[in-house]
């Protein structure tokens, strides 16, 4: 592993964050809809509106606002929400905990289910179990999530009463949402795993390992799966980044106050400090996840490391 590599990637990531956040800042300024008017209601007179705008610093030149924004950001001060008049950071924190839990459980389902399905389908390629698992995968990809959510709520929430229909505080509250969110990723992952595994299973080194007398478990999970892992891992990383951005539909249906809902609500009410803070948060998380995936890739596959060329004679 190479320090040069790591530092370069870190710098690049910071650059990406900077560009995304700045672009968002300027785009939001163009967005029609006056947050002050939305907050204050219909009958308020223009003089008051101006007063409030002045107090909130909305009348300063854009560049000034932009610089203020970054100065505050570097001090980790994200400002107060227009709507709730409370620090934005608190809202993001509580929302992110919810989303984190949802993302975690969903990933668990997606990864375990996806890998198991994919590897099994690859091993038993062409047989009935392969067809069955891949059919489930197709179903999972094509099913609209809100429909599936409703079905789960109906069957497991209402009829069987095994899990709560909505809310995030009761025990087991994340089960139905996690299955709903995890289903799509699990299905895509299953298909990807199967393809990747099939490629590896037909490789020469696998045959050679088999000829060496390596047992099936080690053969599949160490030799085969290890080599199939790279594209799979990248996919898992990007799925996780997706989930961390919040699944707004699922959060809405299951009444989970996560980041997705927060982002959407802040957009609808033009709550700019909150919106900008969520963008910063999401960008950092996404970039962070991809960084981790990159580093893991370096860790797993020696061919990607610096000096990964033929050097032994």
């Amino acid at each position: 592993m190479n320090v040069h590599n790591i530092v370069a990637r870190l710098l690049w990531s910071l650059g990406v964050i900077f560009i995304v956040v700045s672009t968002t800042f300027f785009l939001l300024q163009i967005l029609p809809g006056d947050p002050v008017k939305l907050m204050m209601g219909d009958r308020v007179d223009p003089v008051t509106v101006e007063q409030v705008r002045e107090k909130m610093g909305l009348n300063k030149p854009i560049i000034q606002q932009y610089i203020d924004f970054w100065l505050k950001l570097l001090r980790m001060d994200f400002g107060d929400s227009y709507q709730l008049k409370l620090p934005v950071i608190d809202q993001i924190q509580s929302a992110s905990v919810v989303t984190l839990r949802l993302a975690f459980y969903s990933s668990l389902i997606a990864v375990i289910g996806g890998l198991l399905f994919g590897v099994t389908a690859a091993i038993f390629r062409g047989r009935w179990i392969d067809n069955l698992l891949m059919s489930i995968a197709v179903f999972g990809i094509s099913t609209p999530s809100f429909w599936f959510a409703l079905v789960l709520q109906l069957i497991f929430g209402l009829w069987l009463q095994w899990f709560p229909i909505s809310g995030y505080q009761a025990p087991g509250a994340f089960v139905l949402p996690a299955f709903t969110l995890g289903l799509r990723y699990m299905s895509s992952l299953a298909r990807l795993t199967r393809t990747s595994m099939l490629e590896v299973l037909s490789s020469e080194y696998l045959l050679a390992a088999k000829a060496k007398g390596v047992g099936s478990f080690r053969l599949i999970w160490l030799h085969a799966f290890g080599n199939a892992l790279l594209p799979i891992m990248t996919f898992i990383g990007s799925s996780l980044a997706d989930m961390m951005a919040g699944a707004i539909l699922i959060e809405h249906v299951f009444s989970l106050p996560g980041i997705g809902r927060l982002t959407f609500d802040s957009l609808m009410s033009r709550d700019l400090p909150l919106l900008q803070a969520t963008v910063v948060y999401l960008t950092v998380i996404s970039v962070g996840i991809y960084l981790i995936v990159d580093f893991l890739a370096l860790f797993i596959d020696p061919r990607l490391r610096i000096g990964g060329k033929r050097n032994v004679e």
Partner: protein
């Protein structure tokens, strides 16, 4: 192998730390009523919001000087009696009921009432509803920072105070019955400003705030020592559920006592096993079409007349609103003083419409854009039907859906050419409704841009006139002008709300959309 073990170990630790369940909600003792509400996304403070969802919770904890009974008569609550009003209508004298304490034990005195207004007109952050009270003398100067006290408010002693108005304003006492004028303890508020409306809310109401969670909901617990005897139910739990279907599922699962029934689903439930759980509530409101006077075509009186023939409002109420609402032609809701019983709008007649358009100089018809909020499905359905009807009649309507923020912006700047709106009054006085829609100072806010000097004069006079037959006549005249003569609005139905309520709930009450549950009880079997 080592790699696998480390990864599994990491996974396990993550799983353990994250799966610690959130605070396991402790079961509430005693009779508990569970109500589903959409998340208002704001704290329980009427200073910053006009959301009636907040009022449904707020009104149980904080009270006002006056309140409305079920017939919308204004009756004293914290005040001992109706105020004495000077003959010129400018000076009001009030007396508080002595001996009332807030939930934290502090006594209710004039100081707290004064504080209500000082906060409302505060130069640091004016209340969102301040415009309904700024006829109090000195209020505007106070806001502008030109004086350190509101000259119109005179504290006489701990229980008696006077309020002087800048001009006579007949609905003043009505406004004092609105939640915006809720009385809170001054010292307690100042000591808990940051947490006010979330962690702390103190008032004189039947219930105390037990907990507020910005996303999960609010729990209220009964004040055992309420001065007139405690309310029947021990705990009221308001659960925030944004998705309507989810709320209905929770109701079906038995987790909710009261839930909103969107009228799109009314038929399904009316024919199902919960048919007997359906409750109707009327709201003091009207659904109407508004066409912008600034639009080049719709500034012609003949075009406006033509439009009255161009939409089949009967068919729309039957189809889109499934006949659940009542067909009306009046702008003012039933029961409102000043409602003109003679008002009648023409029925659907596309041929007549085209004839009028030709007369107006638009033989090829009129193009106009209708804008509605994308989240409002029934509005979309309305325009789909109306578009087809209007086409026959020579009006080519393009329909645009817009998100709330943009739509509000456009509407407030008076730029929406055509739209429908449902607007309800807060109480039985026509001033607020008319003023908002038709006074030339404000009509742009509803994208109406109606301006008529006679109407302005009548509205200004009506505001100041004492309650009388003459006052009613003024408003009847206004309604005649704006609806029948000038067609500033095209009303088509009244407004109603529907709930599903579990049979065990006795005497649930919803006043004009706001839940008032302190006389409600639960029958435990």
């Amino acid at each position: 192998m080592k790699k696998t073990i480390t990864i599994l170990a990491l996974l396990l630790t993550m799983m353990v730390t994250i799966s610690c369940p959130g605070n396991n909600k402790s079961t509430l003792q005693g009779k508990t009523l569970t109500v589903a509400l959409q998340n208002p996304k704001t704290v329980l403070d009427m200073h910053n919001t006009q959301f009636f969802i907040v009022m449904s919770m707020f009104d149980h904890v904080v009270q006002t000087l006056y309140e409305f009974d079920e017939d919308f008569n204004v009756i004293p609550l914290l005040a001992e009696d109706m105020p004495t009003i000077s003959s010129d209508g400018l000076l009001y004298t009030f007396k508080l009921k002595p001996g009332i304490t807030f939930h934290d034990g502090s006594p209710l005195t004039t100081e707290d009432v004064q504080f209500l207004f000082e906060r409302m007109f505060s130069p640091d952050g004016i209340g969102i509803s301040a415009a309904s009270y700024d006829m109090i003398l000195g209020a505007k100067e106070f806001t502008a920072g030109k004086s350190t006290e509101i000259t119109g408010f005179h504290a006489i002693d701990d229980y008696v105070f006077e309020i002087q108005l800048e001009y006579p304003f007949t609905p003043f006492v009505h406004n004092l019955a609105m939640s915006y004028a809720g009385i809170i303890p001054k010292q307690t508020f100042l000591a808990n400003q940051k947490d006010w409306g979330s962690k702390v809310l103190v008032g004189t109401g039947y219930y105390k705030l037990k907990s507020y969670h910005p996303t999960a909901g609010v729990i209220l617990e009964v004040d055992e020592n309420y001065r007139d005897g405690r309310a029947p139910i021990d705990n009221i739990q308001f659960k925030f559920i944004d998705d309507e279907s989810t709320a209905l599922l929770e109701y079906a699962a038995g987790n909710l006592d009261i839930v909103d029934l969107p009228f799109e689903q009314y038929q399904d439930y009316a024919n199902g096993k919960f048919a007997n759980d359906i409750h109707h509530w009327s709201r003091l409101g009207t659904n109407m079409i508004i066409a912008n006077f600034d639009d080049p075509a719709f500034s012609h009186p003949l075009v406006r007349q033509a439009f009255a023939y161009a939409i089949d409002r009967d068919a729309i109420v039957a189809q889109v609103y499934k006949g659940l609402l009542d067909r009306v032609d009046n702008f003012l809701p039933a029961g409102m003083p000043g409602r003109n019983p003679t008002i009648k709008l023409p029925s659907y007649d596309p041929a007549k419409s085209r004839e009028l358009l030709t007369q107006a100089g638009f033989p090829d018809g009129v193009k106009v854009e209708a804008i509605y909020r994308s989240t409002n499905h029934s509005d979309g359905q309305f325009w789909t039907m109306a578009q087809a009807q209007a086409k026959e009649a020579g009006f080519d309507i393009t329909v645009t859906a817009m998100d709330r923020a943009m739509q509000v912006e456009l509407m407030n700047s008076g730029k929406i050419p055509l739209m429908i709106t449902g607007w309800s009054a807060s109480y039985l006085d026509p001033d607020d409704l008319f003023y908002t829609f038709f006074h030339s100072n404000w009509s742009h806010l509803k994208s109406s841009n109606f301006r008529d000097a006679e109407v302005d004069a009548l509205l200004d006079a009506g505001q100041r006139a004492p309650i009388s037959r003459e006052r009613d006549a003024m408003y009847e005249r206004v309604e005649k002008i704006v609806v029948e003569r000038d067609l500033a609005v095209y009303p088509y139905s009244n407004t109603k709300e529907f709930n599903l309520i579990k049979p065990r709930v006795i005497n649930p009450f919803r006043l004009n959309g706001i839940y008032h549950l302190w006389t409600t009880d639960i029958q435990e079997n």
